[in-house]
């Protein structure tokens, strides 16, 4: 077992903002990389100001979503709209292994911080640019939040109940799935650099990553010529398969049956073993042909019970079942998630955040979480420490609103 975190010694000059970019570099920071978040009062990261704030007067340093996407990072302020700011940015890049940004299109190039420029100051730099549309193509200047990315990528039309508006998956899904593609790309590039000494540029279009999550939809359309239609909560492989109403307001339990043994176990758990041999339901084909009737029988049984009771009864019988948990369930009723997955981090007496841990454990442990940085919290240690500026130079840059 190694005591070191796996990415210790890796430094990241992080120009990311909003969500998808910072959620990427948070993974690197949590696993030991020194991630320097480069931000500015001249364009405050939108996620510092939108999201969820504690009761009372919140600030740009107390946002819950910002914290959840920026743990373990250091923050500096730097005004990139000044020539001196660009010089300082390059000095940080010269001391980094990775540069990340999720600005639209050619923003970094227009600052003079494009890949060709940066490889002059650090020949083996790895640069990731991850805008919605990528860095090439006719829509390169188009922008969007995650709620537009999922629709563009087909993740609204491939689900839901037939005939209903294409609301799709929850609005910012791509912001939390795409980052793991980005981390994988960066790790592959680091591994390659370790073997060859060669850095590189990585162009990641968030919407392409999201299309990559459509599963068989693309090959099915290509091979069979049909656009896959949404199935509600049903499945082509499992019957029954869905969320069934339980006692209480908006309470549901998901139930899925695949095998013959599971089907019989379900009927027994319902107290109706004879149902298993009912000619309508005795075969998978029969269950599929009479799925509405089957759902009605199952729904009548679940409706009289608490969702957790339904889950426990069915799991004990060997049937796949799980409560449709909401946030309150996740934090107070799920017997495992609150302790295994969530952790409180505080900044003194100012604020306490409830924070997701990394879902991966390395050698059985979660990496330690340090609260997200106050904007500019690490200015002095990075400008005077890492870059070696004198106290006078530093003070002048602050006065000139370069460090700003």
């Amino acid at each position: 077992v190694s005591e070191r975190l796996p990415l210790e010694g890796v430094r990241v000059a992080d120009f990311c903002w909003l969500i998808a970019g910072p959620a990427t570099t948070r993974v690197l920071a949590d696993f030991g990389a020194d991630v320097i978040k480069i931000e500015s009062a001249s364009r405050v990261d939108n996620i510092r100001t939108t999201g969820v704030q504690p009761p009372g007067p919140g600030s740009i340093n107390t946002n819950g979503v910002f914290n959840d996407t920026n743990t373990n990072k250091r923050s500096i302020t730097l005004n990139l709209n000044t020539p001196r700011g660009i010089e300082l940015a390059k000095q940080i890049v010269a001391r980094s292994d990775i540069v990340t940004n999720n600005f639209t299109g050619d923003r970094m190039d227009r600052w003079g911080l494009g890949y060709e420029e940066l490889r002059r100051v650090k020949p083996d730099i790895i640069m990731l640019t991850m805008p919605v549309m990528g860095t090439t193509g006719p829509y390169v200047r188009y922008g969007s939040y995650g709620n537009g990315v999922i629709g563009y990528a087909g993740m609204r039309t491939n689900m839901g109940f037939p005939g209903r508006p294409p609301v799709g998956i929850q609005p910012l899904y791509s912001d939390f799935s795409v980052p793991y593609f980005a981390v994988s790309a960066l790790m592959a590039a680091l591994y390659h650099r370790g073997r060859t000494g060669e850095g590189q540029f990585i162009d990641l279009a968030q919407m392409e990553s999201a299309v990559g999550l459509l599963g068989t939809d693309v090959i099915e359309y290509s091979a069979n010529g049909t656009v896959p239609q949404p199935l509600g909560n049903r499945s082509r492989d499992f019957v029954p398969h869905g969320a069934y109403p339980c006692r209480g307001d908006d309470r549901w339990c998901a139930i899925a049956v695949e095998t013959e043994a599971e089907w019989r176990a379900l009927c027994t758990a319902l107290g109706r073993p004879a149902l298993a041999d009912d000619p309508r339901f005795a075969t998978l084909e029969g269950r599929r042909a009479h799925e509405d009737e089957l759902d009605a029988i199952l729904g009548a049984w679940t409706a009289e019970r608490d969702a957790w009771e339904v889950m426990n009864l069915l799991q004990a019988a060997g049937v796949m079942a799980g409560v449709v948990e909401d946030l309150e369930d996740m934090l107070t009723r799920d017997p495992h998630l609150r302790n295994a997955h969530f952790e409180e981090v505080s900044r003194g007496n100012e604020v306490t955040f409830m924070t997701h841990r990394q879902p991966a454990r390395l050698d059985g442990v979660s990496p330690p979480l340090r609260v997200s940085p106050v904007m500019g919290e690490h200015n002095e240690e990075i400008y005077c420490g890492l870059l070696g500026l004198s106290a006078d130079e530093y003070a002048q840059l602050v006065a000139d609103e370069v460090i700003y």
């Binding site: 609301v167 795409v178 492989d237 799980g322 946030l327 996740m330």
Partner: protein, 403 residues
């Protein structure tokens, strides 16, 4: 051109939740070998199936497109783990692997001799990745779950759909995808850590699919909504993360339309668009203030309805983007094949089917590297197609005891 992960060997032994992880590692250039039991991996029996009639005798009618998609880029071997020889061969293959991809709790893996403690003693460099629905330790470790049950229990499912409908299951098994994304990225984090470690030590990587999928709730249902305010976010239909987001255009297609959050020029761009399109509105100077707009959102939504209701979807998309208003189309798969951006970037890739004499289109890689080519370079394996080849390459000899 060689891939970035050239030289990395991955042995994949898991169920559906790690199929996409193996596919991702293959796309990045790793040598991914899928180990299948007699009768084949469960993926071969998953829908959708190929409907086109086979063009020659070697092709199987009703072949699983699920298998063709998720196992693309991998080699496949057939191995009967229940025989003594098969188990011994498996152990030798693990000895040659950099990454082992598994599903199951520590306890279940230990029964097969595939737990980290058993394997790492002889192979300290191994990166051992196992995915479970609910972890190896918790009170639900023995609960059984498919994608639906994990989506439900992760908090993701309750956020999807119209309020009057049941919560909607995400399309295309997103819980499995999240588990695989976390598994693949964490495996590579461990590989990078191993490369930097003078002793070259691997790691045990464990991933709970429930936790992995819960990451997708981090904004919409951020935990602090509850801890600070007692609020419990639910599915909100046409709404986005700030105000109503979905609108239907003149041609019946849908547009995602985000009203600019900030003050200033973007609101002005919207009002200008209404004027240019001749759509009547009441937006005087005070409407430029977001605080004034906030309680009057319904009026804004009605104006958007009037605007987009008179225009075809693609015109709203492009005109809106030119006005910097973050309009985005709601596409289906057929739309994606017509999309000019994806075409210009050559996103969809042909994948030749080995027996049919035709190619299928598959999604391209999620990234472009300047120093290497990423992508799928071979079709999904036939059952046992590469058994002899892999044993020769990995073990240096043909081996007995393989099914």
């Amino acid at each position: 051109v060689s891939g970035l992960l050239d030289g990395i060997r991955v042995l994949e032994l898991g169920d559906e939740p790690v199929l996409f992880a193996g596919r991702m590692l293959g796309e990045l250039g790793a040598d991914v070998v899928l180990v299948e039991p007699p009768g084949g991996h469960a993926a071969r029996r998953r829908q959708p199936f190929l409907e086109a009639p086979p063009l020659n005798e070697a092709a199987q009618a009703g072949e699983s497109l699920y298998q063709l998609h998720f196992n693309a880029g991998k080699r496949g071997i057939l191995l009967d783990e229940s025989t003594e020889e098969g188990a011994a061969t498996l152990r030798r293959l693990v000895g040659g692997a950099d990454i082992l991809l598994l599903t199951g709790t520590r306890e279940v893996l230990a029964e097969r001799g595939l737990d980290y403690a058993s394997l790492s003693a002889a192979h300290a460099g191994l990166v051992h990745v196992s995915v479970t629905p609910f972890g190896s330790d918790g009170p639900m470790r023995e609960h059984r779950a498919n994608d639906l049950v994990i989506s439900a229990m992760s908090g993701l499912m309750c956020l999807n759909g119209m309020p009057e409908d049941p919560p909607n299951l995400p399309g295309a098994e997103q819980a499995y995808h999240m588990a695989s994304l976390v598994a693949a990225s964490s495996a590579l984090i461990a590989i990078v850590g191993r490369q930097a470690d003078p002793e070259g030590r691997g790691r045990e990587v464990t991933v709970s699919a429930q936790e992995a999928t819960s990451m997708a709730t981090l904004q919409t249902a951020n935990a602090n909504h509850y801890t600070w305010h007692g609020a419990v976010p639910k599915r909100n239909g046409l709404g986005g993360h700030s105000g109503r987001n979905l609108f239907q255009c003149a041609d019946g297609k849908w547009i995602s339309f985000t009203i600019p959050v900030g003050q200033g020029p973007l609101w002005g761009n919207f009002v200008q668009w209404l004027d240019d399109a001749g759509v009547p509105h009441e937006f005087t100077e005070e409407w430029f203030d977001p605080a004034f707009r906030q309680p009057r959102q319904a009026t804004v939504h009605e104006a958007i309805e009037r605007l987009v209701g008179g225009l075809p979807r693609d015109e709203v998309f492009h005109d809106g983007q030119r006005r910097r208003l973050l309009t985005m189309p709601v596409n289906d798969v057929a739309d994606l094949f017509e999309d000019e951006q994806l075409r210009a970037r050559d996103f969809f890739k042909p994948l030749a089917h080995p027996d049919l004499g035709r190619s299928f289109e598959i999604p391209g890689p999620a990234y472009h590297f300047s120093a290497a080519e990423a992508g799928i370079t071979r079709a999904a394996p036939r059952l046992g197609e590469h058994t002899r080849e892999v044993l020769e390459e990995w073990l240096g000899a043909t081996s007995e005891g393989v099914a």
